[in-house]
Symmetry: C2
Subunit: 388 residues, 2 copies
């Protein structure tokens, strides 16, 4: 009865202020509720719904759960105990898939919004804000002559940047298909990962540069002059997908960063890494610019080369370019993939190719598939190896 | 039949990739659809729903509309013709209030997410990205000795900042209750407004500084070390609400900005403005620091002084402080309010007070209430008056 009264009261308060746009109604329900044993309870007030399911990205039960209707029309479901990570989820209410209306925290992944929560005491402690010195996050624009456009880029600068007479190494970090310059920031939690690794002394203070890898778009959906008419889609639906243009124009980004930020403008102080399509980009950015980067990271790289014109100059003679890159020299060629990733076999084939060429690398194999959980966890392993 | 097949196909694609987290399913529905006459059509696939309503923040029909179920379970509703603005809306599906699952673009306003769209050919043209030189947006942290904490602040720097040997005036822009350092960025669209006004020559290139006005919180919800446990609420539910601490510590923010950015560190090159609670803050920041700001803007200011201890030193002797500020001198004291705002009478009372004191001001009265639409439109009027 009490909760019914609270709901009624909240509805009244909500409608009184509706015209005034004071959207301050806190939800009467707690959802998600992180339980002491690291299970999670979801709640939804949907008195007229017939069936409600939770659809999440955790491994247990394939992230699915059927909610049970309780009194007052509140549906509830509790997950099994979950390992530490950042998780995303949505509710399927009688076939309508939506974010959790009681959870104000969401992230966009390609074309959909997802509700989020963290399970701590593990890797997700690096994805959350701690009481440590914080770096800064900037979105700015550089001009590309080769792409004939101003292009948006996200840049992390470490704590105390600009406060001391100090220059920094730079990690260039590339997103996957359907992503953009915000993907590593919003879903990758790069600023928190860097702040926390640096605070623990596990990573060198560095600048992280996250460009937009969609050559026909200047910025993320909603941030170009097309505004909301450019809806997020997989990058392979956009013009210019994997034509080599981006990889060949990459030195423009490096030049912009070296001209604008307090960098150490040397190969020994530069790394490039990327996930999925960004791993493909990383491969061809590095081998086509063998004097730019000493550190390379390929995370679940999209290197099945399906539908790619491998005769295009940026992609042609990959074996020769890999051998040349090895001859010129690099410090780290780090490859990681999940053992259920749909790109797992392509990555294993690529390792054999490197073995045949006698091109050295480090390989990390994780469980699970083509997931942000893996890419964040790869960052925790890759970043501490840089610039040491 | 065709659309049923498409939906089935999309559901299949969606579930195949669910484990791999490739959330690339574009919606089969177009929603919202901006029509040529500037009406808007919403669509929702909800075959089992009994009643679906649109709840928006436009004025016509109080932003409400009842959707009509069509074939294939797709509900549809079209608004009247809407004037140019950024609008927010949600769907009420049988009592569950959610964002539009077909619209990837959302904004958080205090504790809720809202779907958004723009109606162009008017003020909203300033809220959208145009092909003009773009400034940069940064979130960084400063240390407050008086509040004994690192605190997060959003900073806009204009196009070509740092590229020329030039210093800039600074606008300090304060959020309302329930807001934070992201409110003016995300809902106020400050970066686009500034880029577009500067490109048209209507505004001087300037730096815009948006601090967090909640003294007991270091940053926005989700961005403090409480992480998601700090859920957004109205600021008056947080400790330290309107105790004068923030206003008295404000010079620390100015000192940080002058030490860190290419500013003109003079009163003639500083403005302070704020909405609602931020208008209250603006009043007491300016009169308590009469040598800091030459330009003051109060947007729908929360100056009913209800529940405030007006004997606290920052708030005491307001009349005397106003007269002194006038004696010392300022260039602009700009006050704006909507004629249906719940703070309208309080603002009219304040104007009478200024009249009695013979303290000069400019007043702009708009239609409508306590709305982001008004605050964005006030920016279009206020910013061109600065630093000229």
């Amino acid at each position: 009865m009490k909760s019914k009264l609270i709901l009624l009261l909240l509805l009244l308060v909500s409608s009184v202020y509706a015209q005034q746009n004071v959207h301050s109604k806190p939800s009467a329900l707690v959802s998600p509720q992180i339980n002491e044993d690291n299970s999670v309870t979801f709640r939804l007030h949907a008195p007229k719904a017939k069936k409600v399911e939770v659809m999440g990205d955790w491994e247990a039960l394939n992230g699915r759960g059927t909610m049970v209707r309780g009194k007052d029309g509140v549906w509830e479901y509790s997950t099994p105990v979950l390992p530490s990570e950042l998780y995303t989820y949505r509710f399927n209410i009688d076939g309508v898939v939506v974010t959790d209306p009681a959870n104000p925290f969401v992230r966009r992944d390609v074309g959909n919004q997802f509700s989020i929560f963290y399970i701590g005491n593990g890797c997700a402690d690096y994805y959350q804000v701690r009481d440590v010195p914080h770096g800064s996050m900037t979105t700015t624009w550089y001009h590309s002559n080769q792409l004939n456009a101003d292009r948006r880029v996200s840049i992390y600068t470490p704590p105390f940047y600009g406060k001391m007479n100090k220059s920094y190494p730079v990690l260039y970090l590339l997103h996957g298909s359907g992503g953009d310059e915000l993907a590593w920031v919003e879903l990758g939690h790069v600023a928190r990962i860097m702040d926390n690794l640096i605070a623990e002394g596990k990573a060198e203070p560095m600048i992280v540069v996250m460009p937009n890898g969609n050559v026909s778009k200047q910025a993320a959906p909603g941030e170009t002059s097309e505004n909301l008419a450019y809806r997020p889609v997989s990058t392979n639906q956009l013009p210019g997908y994997k034509k080599g243009t981006y990889e060949m124009a990459f030195s423009e980004i490096v030049n912009f960063v070296d001209a604008t930020y307090r960098t150490i403008p040397e190969k020994s102080a530069r790394a490039v890494a990327g996930l999925s399509m960004g791993g493909f980009h990383t491969l061809f950015v590095s081998v086509n610019h063998p004097n730019l980067f000493d550190y390379v990271g390929m995370f679940s790289a999209g290197i099945n080369f399906n539908g790619i014109d491998m005769q295009l100059p940026p992609y042609a003679d990959l074996d020769g370019k890999l051998k040349k890159y090895h001859e010129i020299g690099y410090r780290l060629f780090w490859i990681a993939c999940g053992n259920t990733d749909f790109l797992y076999e392509a990555n294993k084939d690529f390792l054999k190719r490197l073995d045949t060429l006698k091109v050295p690398y480090e390989y990390h194999e994780s469980s699970r598939g083509h997931l942000w959980a893996n890419w964040r966890q790869y960052m925790l392993k890759f970043v501490p190896k840089l610039f040491k």
